[in-house]
């Protein structure tokens, strides 16, 4: 039940796809004479682009993770922008957003405003009030990995793009379990990860970038084509994809995306909402349990138990009950400051979980909490 970190278990077709990759030499564009092996990267690019409503498949880039994508986009945007600018983000963000922005701030390449939220959702007026003439970049997490809230990126995107700023959305927590088609939304770039709700393997991720000319590539190297060129080619996707791709990971991502499409994101969401509602109600009724969002949009529930360290709760859940959760700050320190929790226990579901899993987790938390009464 730690699927907001990495989904487990994986659908059988994902495991099969990852292992089958090794049955033949890789089809590497421009790097091999192999002609008849499956083009895993091309197939995955088409599948992911269609999944996200992106017409030009070449605008979907594969990376090693959402963190990698965010770094490439944030630093690449700053490199392209050339002069210092103002950026906006929120206190709900993961360190994969906060740290690149703060690094730019420390290097005096940008000044940073952080929306201090008052509830689980970012109000678009909170963004609007911070926009200045020199605001060039707004980075928002689509889904919170602590509160499970999903932001209205369409409304925020309209506002941001009207101002002329670049709107970057971190979709690490939503892609695959919440309907989103960034290709059809007022979004300049959308980041996804492979190993969470798209059911791929760790070490995969990517992004959709609407206008490649707005971001410089922060990596340069071999692309398999245009080897005589002195500089990184401007063509997509090789502008941002350099080095040998992660073939097993990308094949697994393709299979995972196929699994999600066949099952349907709406079905996945309604299934997880049923389990989440049960967990919120059942955990909320346990004496001493404190929930930090009683109406999550995603299957993410963060709680603490009065009188006990979150780390110990997680330890007991695993050792005594074989329930896997995550404890601590979840790489999102600012929101913990705001909700006044020095770390929490997070249960996060995937469509591979069952109601029996949830009932077992509730019984375990009841027993743990009961020992303290």
């Amino acid at each position: 039940m730690n699927n907001a970190a990495t989904t487990w278990p994986k659908p059988p077709e994902v495991l099969k796809a990852a292992s089958e990759v090794f049955s033949s030499p890789f089809h590497e564009h421009g790097r091999t004479t192999v002609q008849d092996a499956p083009d895993y990267v091309g197939m995955a690019r088409e599948s992911v682009a269609d999944f996200f409503g992106v017409k030009d498949h070449s605008h979907v880039i594969f990376t090693s993770s959402a963190t990698d994508s965010l770094n490439m986009l944030i630093h690449g945007f700053a490199s392209r922008y050339r002069k210092p600018f103002h950026a906006i983000t929120t206190d709900l963000e993961h360190n994969s957003v906060l740290r690149p922005l703060r690094t730019l701030e420390r290097e005096e390449k940008c000044s940073l405003s952080i929306v201090r939220t008052t509830g689980p959702h970012v109000k678009h007026e909170e963004i609007r009030d911070l926009i200045r003439d020199d605001t060039a970049l707004v980075v928002i997490g689509h889904g919170s990995n602590v509160l499970g809230s999903v932001q209205d990126i369409e409304a925020i995107g309209k506002l941001v793009r009207k101002s002329g700023a670049f709107f970057l959305v971190d979709g690490a927590q939503t892609a695959g379990q919440f309907p989103v088609e960034p290709g059809k939304l007022p979004v300049d770039a959308f980041v996804f990860t492979g190993h969470k709700s798209l059911f791929g393997l760790p070490g995969t991720g990517g992004f959709y970038l609407r206008s490649p000319e707005q971001v410089n590539p922060v990596r340069q190297g071999g692309t398999g084509v245009d080897s005589s060129g002195k500089y990184q080619p401007d063509e997509m996707p090789i502008k941002f994809e350099t080095g040998t791709p992660n073939f097993p990971g990308i094949a697994a991502l393709n299979a995972g995306t196929g699994f999600v499409r066949r099952k349907g994101v709406d079905t996945i969401l309604s299934q997880s909402c049923r389990m989440t509602s049960y967990l919120v109600k059942a955990l909320g009724e346990i004496e001493g349990v404190r929930l930090y969002n009683s109406l999550p949009d995603l299957p993410v529930i963060t709680f603490t138990v009065d009188g006990m360290e979150s780390e110990d709760i997680g330890f007991i859940l695993w050792k005594a009950y074989r329930v896997v959760v995550r404890t601590g700050l979840h790489c999102s320190p600012l929101i913990h400051e705001r909700i006044n929790a020095s770390g929490g226990v997070r249960i996060s579901l995937s469509c591979m979980n069952t109601m029996e899993d949830c009932e077992g987790a509730v019984r375990a938390v009841e027993e743990i909490s009961g020992t303290l009464q």
Binding site: I316, Y321, I368, T371
Partner: protein, 104 residues
């Protein structure tokens, strides 16, 4: 009780060092009573498997499950050598059926 191997080592940002040890005997209530001579022991019963924690303030803490052969030890970095020596001596001097010790 002897340490068989150190499974994990992690240096934490709060200035502590976490080590996971496999030991050659199961953790028993008698062992925890013995640990209580050196610090504060807490046991949570009524769980599927009882949980325990031990704390020797400013030096180290231990946690684990009764019946397991794994100990999770968190050392305060400023006293790590002294704390590790104390921890290993505590284990070495442990003899089931005899909970007195003179190492303190």
């Amino acid at each position: 009780m002897q340490i068989l191997k150190t499974n994990k080592f992690k240096r934490c940002v709060d200035g502590t060092v976490l080590k996971e040890y496999s030991v050659d005997e199961e953790v028993t209530r008698e062992l925890l009573t013995y640990f209580g001579e050196f610090g504060t022991v807490k046991i949570l019963d009524n769980l599927k498997q009882p949980f325990f924690s031990f704390s020797k303030e400013a030096y180290f803490s231990i946690k684990g499950m009764v019946g397991d052969q794994t100990l999770y030890v968190r050392y305060h970095e400023e006293h790590i050598e002294e704390a590790h020596e104390l921890f290993t001596t505590m284990l070495e001097q442990w003899t089931p059926g005899e909970i007195e010790s003179d190492i303190m």
